[in-house]
């Protein structure tokens, strides 16, 4: 692969430099220009984004998304790695299935597709899946999650946390007490009472997080909490971190931007699990992201076909798209708000998620010797969200909004996966 130079890039610290890329690596960051010159003046160059929570739907739900279409959406969103959640059919609960997902990701070749392993066989919450076999497979799985379902059995959760110490793994918990959320449709509160939709109480999330941080403390293991959605959950995580418990937490872009008020329309494009919460929760989540209580943004990109949303609310599927809008929402919350900076954006979108999952070659600083996983953003651009983008699905909750920033180029292992905002394959 011939060398090329990204000329005049603004780095995350605000300095301007040329980035020379050779053979998939960053050869130098400085003043030299080698090979083809790509003018990136005015663009911010950041380490490629890493999504810790992506539903690519393949195998099993190819009408919603495939690994290829999801990879395209990811690349357009500035991601160079995504973590494919385990709730496929067959479930990613064996070495064979995770290796298949890995292979399909490599074939698409637009982002690094890192499979997440199921914690329990068939996501049934009864018996541990072969976590060791998945860890030792070609997919080198380190993060395990039954996402979509909670590992609600306390004993099983304790065993899983302890067992993954064998290979420095981490359990990513979808915190939802199942009995407290039977028939739940939206955030529980005055609005759910008014709309007559079954409530999903905050305590159903907070009680599981409280239990699990104590289990993580007792076992000394690593715990990751998926899609934190309430201010009470933030309080529990803050307490746990102060005690030195090894817990990390993620928040989704939609929980940082949207509130339950959207349910008034009964339009199921706003139906998601955990549900959109109140503006008070949104405020707490934003503060926690800025002060470090919440470690990362993860999309929970959850494509669904039209018929799963073109129906009455209670019959509709839970989930929203997120890959192509995440960076803009991160910019809105951290940069446009004036409350944080690009360094924090890099942490929450790239280096911290890479560290949690232990994925190779991702989340590295832009410096000589690093793998050339780079995203270049035009921070001054704004764009109106009109549809679902490259995803095979169209459940776009941000339709009609104008968001800051545009991903101009994404470079995955030295090759452009997106050039001039167009995906290259």
């Amino acid at each position: 692969m011939p060398s090329y130079t990204l000329q005049g890039a603004t780095l995350q610290d605000g300095s301007v430099a040329n980035i020379v890329v050779t053979d998939g690596l960053i050869q130098q960051v400085g003043n030299d220009a080698v090979g083809e010159i790509v003018d990136v003046a005015g663009l911010v160059a950041l380490p490629g984004f890493v999504d810790l929570h992506t539903h690519l739907r393949e195998p099993g739900f190819e009408q919603s998304e495939t690994i290829l279409t999801g990879s395209r959406a990811a690349a357009l969103g500035g991601f160079t790695a995504v973590h494919a959640m385990a709730n496929t059919v067959p479930v990613q609960d064996s070495a064979g299935v995770v290796e298949q997902v890995l292979a399909l990701g490599a074939e698409a070749g637009l982002v690094q597709v890192q499979p997440v392993g199921a914690v329990t066989l068939g996501l049934e919450g009864k018996q541990l899946a072969e976590l060791g076999a998945m860890a030792q497979s070609k997919a080198k799985v380190r993060m395990f999650s039954d996402d979509g379902k909670c590992v609600s059995d306390a004993l099983l959760m304790r065993r899983a946390l302890t067992y993954v110490k064998n290979f420095d793994g981490v359990i990513a918990q979808h915190a939802q007490e199942p009995r407290l959320t039977e028939n739940s449709q939206m955030n529980e509160g005055a609005l759910s009472a008014e709309l007559g939709l079954g409530g999903w109480p905050a305590v159903a999330e907070e009680s599981i997080i409280a239990r699990d941080v104590l289990l993580a403390e007792a076992t000394g293991s690593r715990l990751h909490i998926c899609h934190l959605s309430t201010s009470g959950s933030v309080d529990v995580i803050r307490w746990a971190k102060a005690k030195g418990i090894k817990v990390t937490a993620e928040v989704t872009p939609h929980h940082l931007l949207l509130t339950e008020e959207l349910a008034r329309s009964y339009d199921p494009v706003y139906k998601v699990n955990p549900p959109l919460r109140t503006s008070k929760d949104v405020e707490a989540l934003r503060e926690a992201l800025i002060d470090g209580t919440i470690d990362i943004i993860a999309t929970d990109h959850a494509p669904h076909p039209t018929e799963a949303k073109d129906c009455e609310w209670s019959a509709a599927a839970f989930g929203m798209l997120g890959l192509e809008t995440a960076a803009s929402i991160a910019q809105e919350v951290l940069i446009v708000s004036g409350k944080s900076d690009w360094n924090r954006l890099v942490e929450v979108m790239s280096s911290a998620p890479a560290a949690i999952s232990g994925i190779d070659g991702q989340g590295q600083r832009i410096e000589a010797g690093a793998v050339a996983n780079i995203v270049l953003i035009d921070p001054k651009a704004t764009r109106s969200i009109v549809d679902g983008g490259a995803s095979k699905s169209n459940n776009q909750p941000f339709r009609g909004l104008t968001l800051p920033g545009r991903v101009v180029h994404t470079i995955y292992r030295g090759e452009f996966s997106v050039r001039n905002s167009v995906v290259t394959k």
Binding site: Q185, G189, A190, L191, S192, A193, E194, L195, G196, L197, S265, Y266, D267, E307, D310, C311, E312, W313, S314, A315
Partner: protein
């Protein structure tokens, strides 16, 4: 007609006034008006509801409309056809108005606003959300009994207690909104497990015991709600006996109401549970008036929607 919240006070009173005119028609020997001749009303019912469906059917027929009844048990999903497809199929047969009863909250709003069909939509009960025509017929019944000259009037100063499973009741939700809009004082009574705080905040008072409510209230009417036994199995209350003891309406409690206070129930009743037989059959019980007023009110709603050329009033 999706939610009573969409009606202004003036519009609601106008509907009640029209209903009074319709009631006069219902007194005649030939109970028929030509207003909706050539129009087709579809009753699209996804839940068992003989009473509401028949009421709409009689109302439409008295206005000379053609009526098509479509009944499907269970949700549209279990039936294998989506709500959208079912509604579009019926519209293709020439429906001018779709009267929908559906177990999903928001189903009527989805039908009216998502661009699936162009017909006018009347909400005949959506999940645990709203039942607007029930609230209108209850308001009509209150107004008719408590005012000497009801035409043009609201319910200002009238005090109403709604007793029972508020949490799962679309009747309660619609009544809270409409009664407040018409100037009534509303009190909720029931077990704490069945009264969401969000609804308590909309009313004047809430009591967790019917005796406390009666001791502290001065009700012009008491509206009992139907208790569904599956709530007991979901631990909202422990037993029928305990429910009847604390929240059931009976003759003894009746004697402590002010003279002439009305006894109401949207039906069907569980006699011996939320209401005893003596109260249900008492001369102050207006439960059967509610049923006949339902026809007049639904005629008024259909008339306003179709004969006056409005959509989604």
């Amino acid at each position: 007609m999706i939610s009573v919240a969409d009606l202004s006070r003036e519009e609601a009173i106008a509907l009640l006034d029209t209903a009074a005119e319709m009631a006069e028609v219902n007194e005649r020997e030939i109970k028929k008006l030509p207003s909706l001749r050539g129009k087709t009303v579809v009753n699209l019912f996804f839940e068992d509801s003989t009473r509401t469906r028949n009421s709409f059917e009689v109302a439409a027929k008295r206005l000379s409309a053609d009526v098509l009844n479509f009944t499907a048990k269970g949700s549209s999903v279990s039936k294998g056809e989506s709500l959208k497809d079912t509604a579009q199929t019926l519209e293709a047969m020439g429906a001018d108005v779709v009267v929908i009863r559906h177990p999903a909250s928001g189903a009527a709003q989805a039908l009216a606003t998502r661009g699936w069909i162009k017909s006018a939509v009347i909400n005949a009960g959506d999940g645990t959300h709203e039942h607007p025509t029930q609230a209108l017929l209850d308001a009509y019944t209150l107004r008719d009994n408590l005012h000497d000259n009801p035409q043009g009037k609201g319910l200002d100063g009238i005090s109403v207690a709604i007793v029972g499973d508020i949490a799962h009741s679309r009747v309660a939700r619609s009544n809270i909104i409409l009664l407040k809009k018409l100037g009534a004082k509303v009190t909720l009574v029931g077990p704490a497990t069945l009264i969401p705080g969000g609804l308590s905040a909309q009313v004047d008072a809430t009591f967790f015991s019917l005796d406390d409510a009666i001791d502290n209230g001065d009700f012009d009417a008491v509206m009992m709600l139907r208790v569904q036994l599956e709530r007991m199995n979901a631990s909202f209350f422990p037993s029928e006996r305990e429910y009847a003891k604390i929240w059931g309406f009976n003759s003894e409690r009746h004697t402590r109401l002010k003279p002439g206070a009305l006894i109401m129930h949207p039906g069907p009743m569980n006699r011996g549970l939320e209401i005893d037989a003596a109260s249900a059959d008492h001369e102050n019980s207006v439960i059967l008036q509610q049923v006949s007023n339902g026809v007049s009110v639904r005629m008024a709603v259909l008339f306003h929607l179709l004969a006056q050329g409005e959509t989604n009033a």
